[in-house]
């Protein structure tokens, strides 16, 4: 800084900064810093969760995990084979129920109902059901099935999961069907195809990738659901009976019970189960994302 300048304006800030008043500049810097930090926090949390699962989960990994059932309290060893199988059965049954109902309901909203009053109401309530607390769905299925049947059962668990999966499928199906241009439907109708034929052969086929994505998303959503299974499928430390009555072993509830237990081998199994379930779910959501991206880009 030369002497002349100092004499002329002793308090003047350097030329570069004078374009923007310092208060504005500080606010700007703070915003940039804060939002970058917020994003870093988000990334770090996901990283930390994955690290925790890998560090703790890998320790418990062994082939026995996939062959042995969960051990009783205090007994040594064991695996989580029964819980894995139970989870697969419950999730599969849930999706099996939710898919036809969800796709048909989505079809109604996008095709038959489109602008009707009832479709608006159903669309709105479906969106609410989509974010409804899953524990309330557990209470509902408990009242509906467990209490009258007098026992916890895999059926009740599957119904609870189906209720959670359905709104996801309804929503994606409707969104995807709406992307199919109306001209195609008109072309089908002009050829004399009845509405059901137009829907099944034209609109469904056009939107098939999107509908499948919805089903995968629903699968990812229910695979880790714990709260609704607590009062419906519960858990069990042995192989379950094929009629699915009684407590059905499943990964989420197993993780919940074992992680908070005092037995170290139970905790170990909980970590292994947690790693398994999280990796599966993250993989499913990534797959769904890529399917939907390629579909939209087409």
């Amino acid at each position: 800084m030369d002497a002349q300048n100092t004499v002329a304006a002793p308090a003047a800030p350097p030329l570069k900064a004078s374009r923007v008043r310092s208060g504005r500049r500080i606010a700007d810097r703070v915003l940039i810093l804060a939002s970058t930090l917020a994003t870093l926090v988000g990334i770090l949390v996901l990283g930390s969760i994955l690290m925790m699962l890998i560090v703790e989960g890998v320790k418990g990994f062994s082939p026995l995990l996939f062959t042995e059932p969960t051990p009783g309290p205090g007994s040594e060893g064991g695996g989580i084979a029964n819980a894995i199988l139970g989870s697969l059965v419950l999730t599969f049954l849930g999706i099996l129920v939710a898919t036809p109902v969800g796709v048909m309901a989505g079809t109604f909203l996008a095709e038959y109902g489109r602008n009707s009053k009832i479709a608006d109401v159903i669309r709105f309530l479906n969106d609410i059901l989509l974010s409804a607390p899953s524990i309330l769905i557990g209470l509902f299925v408990y009242t509906l099935m467990v209490k009258p049947m007098g026992s916890y059962s895999g059926w009740a668990g599957a119904v609870a999961l189906a209720i959670i999966a359905t709104p996801v499928i309804v929503r994606t199906t409707e969104d995807m069907l709406r992307l199919v241009p109306a001209t195609l439907r008109e072309a089908g109708a002009a050829l004399g195809a009845p509405p059901s034929k137009v829907i099944t052969a034209i609109t469904w086929r056009g939107a098939s990738a999107g509908i499948v994505t919805g089903i995968i998303l629903a699968l990812a959503r229910i695979a880790g659901e714990t709260a609704p299974l607590l009062f419906t499928a519960l858990n069990n430390n042995s192989w379950f009976s094929p009629n699915l009555m009684g407590g059905i072993p499943n990964l989420p509830v197993m993780i919940y019970q074992f992680a908070l237990s005092p037995y170290s081998n139970w905790q170990q199994l909980a970590w292994a189960g947690a790693l398994l379930i999280t990796v599966t779910i993250l993989a499913l959501s990534i797959v769904a994302r890529f399917v939907i991206k390629s579909e939209r880009a087409r």
């Binding site: 309530l125 408990y142 880790g224 999280t278």
Partner: protein, 351 residues
């Protein structure tokens, strides 16, 4: 004022879809052709709307109605289960803080306060975090990093809530106890107001604030991704003209973007609130599960959902009815919040 005069929101995305559909039209043309061929082979023109057609329509209508029935079924079954508790304790059920299994005295007050307090803390922490992420993704992030960063944040939504619970209890709580609860308690001890608000009697790491922090992380992906989509929909011209007259990023965000997207952002926040209120497993792990009303955010408490998860399987008689009644209160609170949220965020994306 000039910023508001350009109200062309959301028309950009429609154009995008149109382009995608154009492509699809070509693919579909082959399909319609196939149908046309089979049609001409048919002996006579069938009247559209035969029996099969009507069955299909009825099935789709019935499926849609099922969604409606399930929602009302949930309300009806929980109200039915909780009715004896409401009848027994009357309006006092909501204001009583008793939860005594031996004496059959139950009240919802502690759980309601715990639910509201943890959700409020979640918003207090989660909303600035989400807005920061949305601003970063839309304004600051270099192009190549946008997709991976976006996806990482969205993947936070896929992590099951029980995993958040384990992370909160085994990783976060010990760190939180050691680096926050203990030092803060030492500083504020004996001071008025903050001395009660931030004093941990037992610095174990679990408590209302821990639950709030975990919930905040859980709502971030939802609020951030909706806000990001909303900010993306604002025409670039608006942003560019603001930068053109010499606005800083902060001024663009504060005076151009936020006013344009404010309604949707509030809707997204309400949606996050709906999630936070009903979240069960993560909270059950980290809230400490105590039926105690405490002024300190470091003390354990319980929420409606965590109490139901903890006690329902062993509950009987009036306790069971009271838990159902708690569920009923939760239903009413979350559904009011979600209805407001959905009215504000008109159809964004699957959240």
């Amino acid at each position: 004022m000039w910023m508001r005069s350009v109200g062309l929101l959301a028309s950009g995305t429609a154009a995008l879809y149109d382009a995608a559909l154009e492509e699809k039209t070509h693919r579909m043309a082959a399909l319609t052709e196939k149908i046309a061929l089979t049609r001409t082979a048919a002996p006579a023109r069938r009247k559209p709307g035969g029996l099969g057609d009507q069955i299909f329509r009825a099935a789709s209508y019935a499926s849609a109605l099922l969604v409606l029935i399930v929602l009302f079924g949930i309300l009806a079954s929980i109200a039915y289960g909780g009715w004896p508790a409401f009848a027994e304790f009357g309006p006092g059920f909501i204001t009583s803080s008793a939860w005594n299994i031996g004496q059959e005295q139950y009240g919802a007050f502690v759980a309601i306060i715990g639910t509201l307090a943890s959700a409020f803390l979640a918003l207090l922490i989660g909303v600035p975090l989400s807005l920061g992420i949305a601003v970063y993704l839309t304004q600051l992030c270099p192009g190549w990093a946008r997709k991976p960063v976006s996806m990482t944040i969205e993947l936070l939504a896929s992590v099951p809530s029980i995993i958040y619970g384990m992370w909160g209890l085994f990783i976060f709580a010990p760190l939180f106890a050691r680096f926050v609860q203990v030092p803060v308690s030492n500083v504020v001890e004996g001071l008025p107001i903050v001395g009660t608000l931030f004093y941990a009697r037992v610095p174990s790491g679990v408590g209302i604030l821990t639950a709030g922090i975990i919930l905040a992380i859980m709502i971030v992906p939802f609020v951030a991704s909706i806000t990001r989509d909303m900010l993306d929909q604002i025409p670039t011209v608006l942003r560019e003209s603001a930068y053109g007259i010499g606005c800083t990023t902060w001024e663009v965000v504060r005076h151009v973007l936020v006013p344009q997207a404010s309604v949707s952002i509030i809707g997204a926040i309400m949606l996050g609130l709906g999630r936070a209120l009903g979240e069960t497993m993560a909270v059950t792990f980290v809230i400490g599960n105590a039926n105690r009303l405490s002024a300190s955010v470091f003390d354990p408490g319980s929420t409606i959902a965590s109490r139901i998860a903890n006690e329902f399987n062993e509950a009987d008689g009036m306790q069971l009815h009271s838990l159902m009644a708690l569920g009923c209160i939760l239903f009413v609170i979350t559904f009011i919040v979600l209805i407001i949220a959905r009215l504000l965020v008109r159809r964004t994306k699957v959240a």
